[in-house]
Assembly symmetry: C2
Homo-oligomer: 389 residues x 2
Amino acid sequence: MAAKKTTKTARNEPPPRPKMRPMGQLAPIERQTIEKIDTLARSAVEAVARGENPAMQMKMRALSNVSFNEKKRIIELGDKTQSREFFNTSMARKFMQTFLIANRCKELVGEGKTVSIRQMYYLTKHTLKGTSENTFEGQEESDPIIEDLEVTIDTLREELHLFANKRGLVTGNLVVNDAGDEIDLSKMGRGGWGIPSICEEKELKFVRNDAKFILLVEKQAVWHRLNEDRFWQKQNCILMTSEGQAARGVRRLLQRLSGELKLPVYCLVDNDPWGLYIYSVLKQGSINLAFESMRLAVPNVRFIGMSSLDYEKFDLPSAVEIKLSKEDIQRAQQMKKYPWFADAKWQREIDALLKNGFKMEVDSLLSKSIEFMTEEYLPKKLRDRDYLT
Amino acid sequence: MAAKKTTKTARNEPPPRPKMRPMGQLAPIERQTIEKIDTLARSAVEAVARGENPAMQMKMRALSNVSFNEKKRIIELGDKTQSREFFNTSMARKFMQTFLIANRCKELVGEGKTVSIRQMYYLTKHTLKGTSENTFEGQEESDPIIEDLEVTIDTLREELHLFANKRGLVTGNLVVNDAGDEIDLSKMGRGGWGIPSICEEKELKFVRNDAKFILLVEKQAVWHRLNEDRFWQKQNCILMTSEGQAARGVRRLLQRLSGELKLPVYCLVDNDPWGLYIYSVLKQGSINLAFESMRLAVPNVRFIGMSSLDYEKFDLPSAVEIKLSKEDIQRAQQMKKYPWFADAKWQREIDALLKNGFKMEVDSLLSKSIEFMTEEYLPKKLRDRDYLT
């Protein structure tokens, strides 16, 4: 092994030159991104030329700099900034890493290619010439640098041509154009269209919409049941599943559909603290990604269920009950204190969960009948405007 | 809570009558399934009428009844059977549960609806009248009963209208018809079509195929990279990702594509024991689902990479190396003893992994360049017929 390592280090060659497109062929947003990266790099070079310590300013990504904006109803980053300097032993490595990643992102944008954040790690990892030091030791080093770069030049990672793993499916009365292909989402059979990781305007366009609203369901099996019953056709809507916590692609797509097509968004999650959390991240963003709430949060999303009050309202059988765990109870009590759940109607909802002493899955609606969810539960909720915001 | 329980038990009503289609409207496979369930039920009723102990015979699903069929090259269940009897205190509960599930499956087939195995749990869970006993306490009770039923009446769960969560995406030069919708898989943009959980002939038909082979990749991000580079167009193929271990839908789709369209299948997984396992389950089936290998295994799938020999062959940099863990080494040593890896070429492959002392992810091919995988690695492998079977 030791012998092999030496050979390998020796044969690390410089990567081939990227096939950058001329600036004239780039979309405006691509040019903007490249200019932001160039500006960052230029300021460092100029500092060196002036004999100064090159530094970059970035908003602090820490709990102490995160707050809930009552007016916009989103979680956002405050104005506290920090400086990252080159001539500082604790910062030099990260400084170098930021520029390595910025450089690769510039190439990606120029080439019109995208890679996953794991692939970016491999694109930038190498052994520094003449040393045994690696530029990155693991992805846990490169991921935060990507977030730093996003904050520093105020650019979504999607605009840097980086993607996280995608998750989520969509079907319904909407025609889109994605990367040049026209896709009729009402002709997707039982499979649905996979929601891309990157749902920006450049690649994904809305061609024709007949739907009146969007229903996002947490669980894939619920989406399947509704799709099989052609719920989206009967109710004239767009039916999406996030398959758990919503990925960035799903959030961005929802935000664009809600904003550009002026469609109301309803969210159907399990009746438990995790379901409330999924809804809450969709609506006001998360603490971790507070710097991107503006681009990802959907403040007008409506919580259509499952509500703790549905148990009585729909006369559900005892088979639906799953006893709350100690963690569920603690989590619910925490949630009662969140400013976005301060309203009396939300306090009543969370109190009802605690009073019930049990949680419920959306799937359990099938204990009434196979099509209860499609033909009774959701239509009644929509008709009665029975939702929380 | 105690008071509530009583009320709820009292208000458990019988489920509404299902909307069964007349037998004449059913597809042949649907009629067959219903007849199989009816035969099972009739034999129990007749035993009771004769004053006998109703019993059903089922193949034993135990390691002692599983073996590798060298000729067919699949893992299959042997002929040992066990009997499940009604008048037997240790079997009565399972006997009752089997008929509860069989009855619901019959309704599903009759109605032309499908549900997830979790939803089936809710469909069949209720409190027995006049007692505090539940038909099922949890899904861990209902899942094995579903497998029992599959084996007893020799029917795939898909034919019983049950689905597991789906996973996997596909794009490429193939047109399918799914549930009446014609879907051109070469017009899926960046999203791909979600592979249904149930890929049986009744719903999913192959309309037109121009592809020459199928490439299945383990990782979604690798699929994304290849799709963005339009690998399937340049190489004229169908590009699928299993997103990890292949779900039943992916396996069944691969088997049908391979069999009905006579297409070779290449499999690209990470260079580690888990990747070899994913390949191995695709090819010869798994011990757990040995009773379904005939319907799910794809014995002619080819392992195209990543091979441990690729490190030298493609002059990869040391950045790709991830040290083997103790578990990796143990797992690789176990795998060397599997009969389906007995061939000298496989022994050489696994030995090379152990000798390297490191594993590699397909993503790490990007350390050569962004498009190395699309433009050099895979084309060379295909050209040189450099794969294992």
